[in-house]
């Protein structure tokens, strides 16, 4: 129990062995339940009434996002290849921007990340749960967990709460023995493996850029720029996205987190590159 340490068993070797063995047993799946509403009250309706659009600004849950991830192969031997994960950093409650510096790339172990779209608290909490599961799995099985297994656990947990109002759209991305992998998981229980993927309110804008410029083989420089460019265009046209662009590059050997880039500065950078305004302006 709480505060129980190995010191409590030092007098008895057999007990010590048993205690160690018990620690490695797979934990009880979920022995706690969320405190629910009184019987007969529908949780989804209840939430909509008290925390929906009519609630005060500070009482609405934080949400709204553009996140994207894609897999690419190195174009030259100097490049590393792997996965690029790029996200914006805005969290809004209704029309109020409650944070402009949210980190939407959450770690799951050393080699894996999950992105955060939909309800911010839902993503943070359940990603933690998945991270805990992965750590325990790796301790128990003495081998790295695959992205597929981690994302399947995630999807199963979310499916268990289907219809209760959770809102999660996450991409689990990472390298494992099968190579670079991205799985999109959402709170409806959907889970699918993709090479190019985007989730969130600005995903359509991001897809527009990704589908236009994505090549299976790219240099690292090109790939990172593509991630930034897609996020920048999404934040430009989607009011639910904005702030800075956080980018994470997962290579076969390491996970590189790049410093955040202000999207409004990127705007000028890209406009300078094509030497005109980013938005379409017809010429007479």
């Amino acid at each position: 129990m709480w505060g129980e340490t190995f010191d409590d068993f030092e007098n008895d070797e057999v007990e010590m062995v048993n205690a160690k063995k018990n620690l490695m047993i797979e934990p009880a799946h979920n022995d706690f339940t969320f405190q629910g509403l009184p019987l007969g009250i529908q949780p989804v309706d209840f939430m909509k009434t008290h925390f929906g659009a009519t609630a005060g600004k500070s009482m609405q849950f934080r949400k709204g996002t553009t996140t994207l991830a894609f897999v690419y192969e190195p174009a030259t031997p100097n490049d590393k290849g792997g996965i690029i994960v790029a996200v914006d950093s805005r969290a809004s409650s209704g029309e109020y921007i409650s944070s402009k510096s949210v980190m939407k790339i959450l770690d799951i172990g050393d080699r894996m990340v999950a992105t955060m779209a939909g309800g911010a608290a839902d993503c943070q909490f359940w990603t933690r749960t998945v991270a805990k599961y992965c750590t325990l799995y790796e301790l128990r099985e003495k081998t790295n967990i695959t992205v597929s297994a981690a994302s399947k656990y995630f999807a199963n947990v979310l499916y268990g709460y289907k219809g209760q109002g959770l809102s999660v759209g996450s991409m689990v991305a990472g390298y494992d023995k099968k190579g670079p992998q991205i799985f999109k998981v959402d709170s409806e229980g959907d889970r699918c493996s993709l090479k190019v993927c985007s989730v969130g309110s600005g995903s359509l804008n991001a897809y527009g850029i990704l589908d236009n410029h994505f090549k299976p083989k790219m240099t690292d420089e090109e790939a990172r720029k593509l991630g930034l460019r897609a996020i920048m265009h999404a934040t430009y046209r989607d009011s639910g996205s904005g702030g800075v662009c956080n980018l994470c590059h997962i290579t076969p050997t390491e996970k590189i987190r790049l410093p955040p880039m202000d999207v409004s500065k990127l705007w000028y950078e890209f406009a300078g590159e094509i030497s005109r305004d980013i938005a379409y302006e017809p010429v007479e």
Partner: protein
């Protein structure tokens, strides 16, 4: 179905599915057995909003927390002029909450008992980083019946630096330099963005460093500003100052009482 030829069949199936879903939605929203009493119960409202605002600013070696002490019913009727919304949990952790006062009290009690248990188990005070995660999880445990509170946790972390953690009602956590919550949040934050975040300042201009004196005066300014333009904020500022290596200081300063 009689017709199983191509497009008609699939269109029929789609229509059927659509009407089935519609019927399912209707029946689950309003089942036959739902009596008038049941429907009345669906409108059950366990929450009320007591108004007020709270704010926290952190610096290199300090964290200051402030809130007003007004408590209102329906934003209009003033219930009391000295409600305490800031709780000093231990020598380095301060919790401040706005929203439903019943949930505020309950949340405080839960955190206090968990901190007490931690002291008992580990023979040391909890650090603010740990308490921040604890609060986040405790908020999320009530995901389907949330605490109606906007919480901010502030304090001095293990490295002697000021820390401010901001939350939404269900425990989305973020560490920030400054944060506000409650009715005047949309007024205080832009002011602090301008004065501390310097987001409106062009490059090349002097950006004054955030000393404790400056932070305290900014805090006073933001509450005076909010009290001028927001009905549920006023009466007194409850100011709590935590500085690394020094005991926590609490002050009450007057605000507009109208």
């Amino acid at each position: 179905m009689a017709c199983f030829n191509g497009i008609t069949a699939s269109a029929d199936a789609t229509n059927q599915m659509h009407s089935f879903k519609q019927a399912m939605r209707e029946v689950s929203a309003k089942p036959d057995w739902l009596s008038a009493r049941h429907i009345e119960r669906q409108r059950w409202n366990p929450y009320s909003m007591e108004g007020g605002s709270t704010c926290a600013i952190s610096g290199d070696n300090f964290a200051i927390v402030a809130s007003d002490t007004r408590m209102t019913a329906n934003d209009i009727n003033i219930l009391t002029r000295d409600a305490e919304k800031i709780q000093v949990l231990n020598d380095s952790i301060i919790l401040t909450t706005s929203g439903f006062y019943g949930d505020v009290l309950q949340l405080t009690k839960v955190l206090q008992s968990r901190l007490h248990k931690y002291r008992f188990d580990y023979r040391a005070d909890m650090s603010v980083d740990l308490c921040a995660e604890l609060l986040s999880r405790n908020l999320y445990y009530r995901r389907f019946f949330p605490y109606y509170t906007g919480a901010i946790l502030a304090g001095i972390d293990e490295h002697g630096k000021g820390a401010v953690f901001s939350y939404d009602p269900i425990g989305c956590i973020e560490r920030l330099g400054y944060s506000a919550s409650g009715a005047a949040e949309p007024m205080i934050i832009p002011f602090l963005d301008c004065q501390i975040g310097h987001v409106t300042l062009d490059e090349g201009y002097e950006k004054p460093a955030l000393t404790m004196e400056r932070a305290i005066s900014l805090m006073k300014d933001s509450f005076r500003g909010a009290a001028e333009r927001e009905i549920s904020t006023g009466d007194k500022i409850h100011l709590v100052i935590a500085e690394a290596g020094k005991p926590i200081v609490q002050k009450f300063l007057p605000l507009r009482e109208d």
